[in-house]
Symmetry: C2
Subunit: 197 residues, 2 copies
Amino acid sequence: MANEGVVAKGIARREEILEIALDVFARSGYRGTSLREVAEIAGLTQAGLLHHFGTRENLLVEVLRRKEQLGREEHPDVAGTPYGLSAALRNNTSTPGLVELHSVLATQAADESHPAHEYFTERYANMRARLSADLRRRASAGEFDSRIDPDRLATILVALADGLQVQWMLDGSIDMSAHFDELLGLLRADTAGPPVA
Amino acid sequence: MANEGVVAKGIARREEILEIALDVFARSGYRGTSLREVAEIAGLTQAGLLHHFGTRENLLVEVLRRKEQLGREEHPDVAGTPYGLSAALRNNTSTPGLVELHSVLATQAADESHPAHEYFTERYANMRARLSADLRRRASAGEFDSRIDPDRLATILVALADGLQVQWMLDGSIDMSAHFDELLGLLRADTAGPPVA
DNA sequence: GTCTATAAGTCGATAGAC
DNA sequence: GTCTATCGACTTATAGAC
C-alpha cells in the first residue's frame, strides 16, 4: 500500500511537532504558552497545529506523556529506587526547561479543574508506591535505616527531589543530587547514627 | 486637617482590596487571575482597581509582601528554626489557597523575566541563611546530628517543606508536618542512629 | 476615588479553499 | 496536511467625565 508511507510521514511530522512543543512548553509553562507560539516555531500555523492535536489541552497531555517516556528511557535500571531519583536530579541539570515544565505544571495541576490534575495525582501515587516497595525490600535486606516507615520515607524522598528542583531553578549553583545523596547517606543502615565517641 | 480622614479611608480601602486580591490570587495563581476578577469580587471595576496599584505586576508584589507579613505574625517565636518550618506546614493545612499561591508563583518565578523572580530568589536565600545559622547553633549545643553541614541541611529542610506541599496539594490526605517531623526526629542527635541490637 | 468607554492586543477554535 | 480568514471572548492599560 502506498498509503503506509503517507501515514508514517504524518506520524513522523506529529512526533516532530511534539518534540518542539515539549521545548516550548518547557520554557514558558502551561498558561504562558500559546498555540501560535508553538506553531510558529514548528513551522506551521496555529490552525495547522490544531489539525494534529484537536485542542490545546490535548496537546498538553501529549507533551506530558512524551516527557515521562523520555525520563523512563533515560535510566531504566534504577527506575523506582532512591538511586533513580538521584540520577534523575543529576540528569535534570542539563535540561532546565523540562524541570520548569514539570514543576510549574505539577503545582498548577493542584487545581482539580486543571486538565492535568488526574495525570499528576496518579503519577505521584505510582511513584510513591513503587519507591516504597523498593525501600521496604532494602530495609529488609539491612541496607536502609528501618526506624522509618517505607511509605513515609518514599513521600519524603520524592518531596526532597521536588523541593531541590525549586531552589535550583531559582539558584543554579545549588547541587541537587549532592544534597539528595547526602541525606540518603545518613539514612543508609551502614552509616546511620552519629559518631559514638 | 480634614484631609487625614480622607487619606486614612483611602488606605483602608486599599488594604481591604489587598486582602481580597490575596484570596483571589491564592485561588487561581498569578497567570490565572485577571484584574477584572479581582476587581469584581472587591466590588469595583478593573479601572478602579488599577487606580490603587498602577499595574498588575505592582499588585502582585503587594500581595506577596502581605502574605509574608501574615506568615511572620503567625509564629514569631520559632521563626528561622526547623520548628518554624514544621509549624508553618501545620498551619498551611488550613489555607490551601495560600499554599498554591506560593508554590505556583515560586516555580513560575524561576523565569528571570518573571516580575517576582528577584523577590523569590532573595526570599529563599534569606530563609536558608537564617535556618543554617540556627542549625549551626543547635549542632554545637549537641541537639542535632553534626555529621551534616548546616548549610546543606538548611537547603534540604526547605526543599522537603516545599516538596511536601506539592504532594499535599495533589493529595490532601498526606500529613505534611508529620512527615517533616519524622525526618527531623531522625536527625536529632539524641535519637540519631538505628537500634544497636 | 470610581466610573464609562475604548484602544490595542492576545487567545482558542472553526470554516472552508487548496 | 496546511493554509487564510475570521469569530467571539478575553486581556491590560489609558483617557477623560463626574
